[in-house]
C-alpha cells in the first residue's frame, strides 16, 4: 500500500535544493518527484515568474484557452466527526440540516436553470443520516439533467463507489486535509475521520470502483505547504501508476473563516498558493487543478490560464442555500461572491472560454 514519508524527511529533501537544481528541473522534459521537491523549495521562490510562464504554457497546450465551470450542492451539514478546523464539526453549535431528496432535487434544478451542467454533491460525514442509498437515489433523479455529477462525502468502499458509478456519479473528491500524520492526529479529535490510513486509501478505492475521475487535495493552513505539496505529488504519482484509466484532479483549499475558534496553524499566502499550483502543474501537465470560491475574485481572475483548469461559481456552502439565500449554517464563508454569469463574463474578458459542459450523461447510462 501507498505510504507517505514523514514531513521531517520531506522537508529535508525540499530544503536541500539549490539554485542550479531549479534551473535543471525547470528545463526537464519529464519531471520526477525529486524535481517537484526542487520546484517547491525556498530556493525556487525567486523563480516564481519563470514557473508561472512554464505552467501557463503547459496549461494552454493541454487544456486550451478554456476553463470549466461547476457548482457545489451542499446536501447535509450533519457530521459525526470532531475536526478542529471545520464549520460542520460535531461540537459546533450551528443550525444542522439534511435536504430531503425533493429538496435536493429542487436545489439542483436552481443550479441547472442558472446554467450549470457539472455539479458536486457535498455533505458532512453522518452515514446513518446520509449514506449510499441517499446518494444513489439522488443521482438517479439528476443524471439526465447534468453532464456530470461528482461527490465530496465520507469515504466509501470500492463496492459502494461502483454502485454510485452505475447510478450516474462520475467522480469523487476526497481530500487528505493534511498528509502530516502528527498534525492530522491533532486536528481530527473524534470520529471515523481520525483514521489517517483509511482516508489515504480512499482515492484508490474510488478509482478501483471505476470512477472516471478522482480529486485529491490538501487543506492549506494546517501544515507546511511545501511538504504538503510534495506529499500530494507523491500521492498523485502513485495513483497514476496504479490507476492509468482514472483522470486525476488536485485542489488546494485554503482555510477560510468558519464556525468555531480555530486559527490556521501556519500561514499560506496567495504567493505560496500560486507557487504550489505552478509546481504541481509543471510536475503533472495533465492533472486538473481546481480553484474554488474560497479565493477572492481578484485572485481567481489573475490565475486564469496560469495553471487552474476548473472554477466553481456562485457557490453556497449551506444546505438549502440556493433556494433560500438567508439560510445559515454554512461550512465556511466564501471569498468570491460573484454569480455564474459574472464569473463567465470575467473569464471571457481575459480571453478564455468558460466551458459549462464538458461531459455527457450518455456516458453514464448503463
Amino acid at each position: 500500500m501507498f505510504e507517505i514519508p514523514s514531513f521531517a524527511q520531506l522537508t529535508d529533501q525540499i530544503n536541500s535544493c539549490t539554485d542550479e537544481d531549479i534551473k535543471r528541473s525547470l528545463r526537464a522534459a519529464h519531471l520526477s518527484t525529486h524535481d517537484l521537491a526542487v520546484l517547491l523549495s525556498p530556493a525556487a521562490d525567486k523563480h516564481l515568474e519563470a514557473m508561472a510562464k512554464r505552467s501557463a504554457d503547459i496549461t494552454a497546450m493541454r487544456f486550451g484557452r478554456t476553463t470549466q465551470i461547476y457548482a457545489p450542492l451542499y446536501v447535509s451539514s450533519f457530521c459525526t466527526n470532531r475536526c478542529s478546523y471545520c464549520g460542520f464539526s460535531a461540537d459546533n453549535k450551528i443550525e444542522r440540516r439534511i435536504l430531503s431528496l425533493d429538496e435536493a432535487e429542487a436545489e439542483a434544478m436552481i443550479l441547472h436553470h442558472r446554467g450549470f451542467n457539472h455539479i458536486l454533491l457535498v455533505s458532512g460525514e453522518a452515514p446513518a443520516k446520509l449514506g449510499v442509498d441517499y446518494l444513489e437515489k439522488l443521482a438517479l433523479r439528476l443524471r439526465n439533467r447534468f453532464a456530470s455529477i461528482s461527490i465530496e462525502v465520507q469515504p466509501l468502499s470500492t463496492e459502494e463507489y461502483a454502485r454510485l458509478f452505475t447510478a450516474g456519479i462520475t467522480s469523487v473528491a476526497i481530500y487528505q486535509e493534511t498528509y502530516d500524520r502528527n498534525i492530522y492526529d491533532r486536528v481530527h479529535i473524534a470520529g471515523k475521520k481520525c483514521d489517517y490510513d483509511f482516508r489515504l486509501e480512499t482515492p484508490a478505492r474510488a478509482a478501483a470502483g471505476s470512477m472516471r475521475e478522482v480529486g485529491i487535495g490538501a487543506l492549506l493552513g494546517l501544515a507546511d505547504w511545501r511538504a504538503e505539496g510534495l506529499a500530494l505529488g507523491l500521492h498523485l504519482a502513485w495513483l497514476r501508476k496504479n490507476f492509468w484509466r482514472t483522470g486525476l484532479t488536485v485542489s488546494f483549499p485554503r482555510l477560510r473563516p468558519a464556525a468555531g475558534e480555530f486559527q490556521p496553524l501556519c500561514e499560506v499566502n496567495e504567493r505560496d498558493l500560486s507557487h504550489l499550483i505552478f509546481a504541481l502543474r509543471i510536475f503533472d501537465p495533465d492533472v486538473g487543478i481546481i480553484l474554488s470560491t474560497r479565493e477572492e475574485a481578484r485572485y481567481r481572475n489573475g490565475m486564469l490560464g496560469l495553471g487552474p483548469t476548473r472554477y466553481s461559481a456562485g457557490s453556497c456552502t449551506a444546505p438549502g442555500g440556493y433556494s433560500d439565500p438567508d439560510t445559515t449554517g454554512e461550512q465556511f464563508s466564501i471569498g468570491d461572491q460573484r454569480s455564474i454569469n459574472e464569473v463567465c463574463a470575467a473569464i471571457k474578458q481575459k480571453g478564455f472560454d468558460p466551458v459549462r459542459k464538458d461531459w455527457d450523461a450518455a456516458f453514464q447510462l448503463q
Binding site: 484557452r65 478554456t66 492509468w244 495533465d286 472560454d353 466551458v355 459542459k357 461531459w359 456516458f363
Partner: protein, 256 residues
C-alpha cells in the same frame, strides 16, 4: 478531389473545435481554413439545446458535421454515445475515439476495432482515430471503416510527424483514405503529411492555441495545398551526395 464514403471534399484540411478561446474565434478560424469537415466532441455540445454556442457556429449546409466520441473508455460507451447522438440528429458520420487513458488520450486498438465492427453494422460511416499501426489500419479497413485516422503524434503535443515511417506504410497499403490526425504542430508538419501522400489532415490544438488562431488556420490551409500539390507533382528523391541539376554527361553516346 478527396472522396470519403459518398462525399467529395475540395479541402483536405479538417478541423477540430476544442480549446478555442470563444465560439467567435472558432467560427472565424473555420472560415479561414476553408475546411469542409469539422469534428466536435459530443461531450462538449448539447444537441437538444438550440442555443448551444458551438452547434450554432457550424452551418451544416456548408460543413460536414463529424461528431466524435472523445472520452469513451471502451467500445460499449462509444457505441452508446454514437447511437444517442444519431437519435438526436447528429447524422451517420462518426469520428470514433476510444481513449481509456485520460493522460495521453491514446486510442485503444482492441476496443476501437470492436466498436467499428458494431457501428458499421449499424450503418454509421466510421472514421476511427488510431495509433499509427499499419496492421490495425488494415483490420479496420476490412471491418468497413470509411477512412483511417492515424496520429502524427499524441493529441495536443504539437510534435509533428513522429510516426512518419508507420504512416508511410499505412498510406502505401490502405485502400481507404488516410487522414493524419493529432499532433501536427505547425503548417510544415501538415505539409509533410500531405507530401508523403496522406489524403487529408485534421488539426486542432496548433490552431486553437496559436497567438492568432484565424491566421494560423489560413496558414495550415496553404500548407495542406502546397503539400498535396508536391505529392501530385512527384517529389525528387533525397540524396546525401550532390548532383548537378543539369547532367554534364548524359548517356547520349549510346546508339541503340
Amino acid at each position: 478531389m478527396l472522396k470519403i464514403a459518398d462525399r467529395t471534399f475540395r479541402s483536405r484540411l479538417f478541423l477540430g473545435t476544442g480549446k478555442f478561446d470563444s465560439a467567435e474565434t472558432l467560427k472565424k478560424a473555420i472560415e479561414a481554413s476553408g475546411s469542409e469537415m469539422i469534428t466536435v466532441a459530443l461531450r462538449r455540445v448539447d444537441l437538444n439545446d438550440p442555443a448551444d454556442d458551438i452547434m450554432n457556429v457550424l452551418d451544416r449546409t456548408k460543413y460536414l458535421f463529424l461528431p466524435n466520441t472523445s472520452g469513451a473508455r471502451d467500445a460499449k460507451e462509444a457505441v452508446r454515445l454514437a447511437r444517442l447522438a444519431r437519435a438526436a440528429g447528429s447524422g451517420d458520420w462518426l469520428k470514433l475515439e476510444v481513449t481509456p487513458d485520460p493522460r495521453t488520450l491514446l486510442p485503444d486498438p482492441i476496443e476501437t476495432l470492436k466498436a467499428t465492427e458494431e457501428l458499421v453494422k449499424d450503418g454509421f460511416i466510421v472514421l476511427p482515430y488510431i495509433n499509427a499501426d499499419p496492421v490495425l489500419a488494415l483490420r479496420l479497413q476490412d471491418a468497413g471503416a470509411a477512412a483511417v485516422m492515424p496520429l502524427g503524434a499524441p493529441i495536443g503535443t504539437n510534435l509533428g510527424m513522429i510516426t512518419r515511417f508507420q504512416v508511410e506504410i499505412i498510406i502505401d497499403q490502405a485502400r481507404v483514405p488516410v487522414v493524419v490526425d493529432a499532433g501536427l504542430g505547425a503548417p510544415s508538419d501538415a505539409a509533410l503529411a500531405m507530401e508523403i501522400g496522406a489524403d487529408a489532415v485534421l488539426v486542432n490544438t496548433a490552431i486553437s492555441i496559436a497567438g492568432d488562431p484565424v491566421k494560423m488556420a489560413a496558414a495550415f490551409a496553404q500548407a495542406v495545398e502546397a503539400g498535396r500539390a508536391a505529392y501530385e507533382a512527384g517529389l525528387g528523391k533525397k540524396s546525401s551526395e550532390a548532383s548537378a541539376s543539369s547532367p554534364l554527361t548524359g548517356l547520349d553516346f549510346i546508339k541503340d
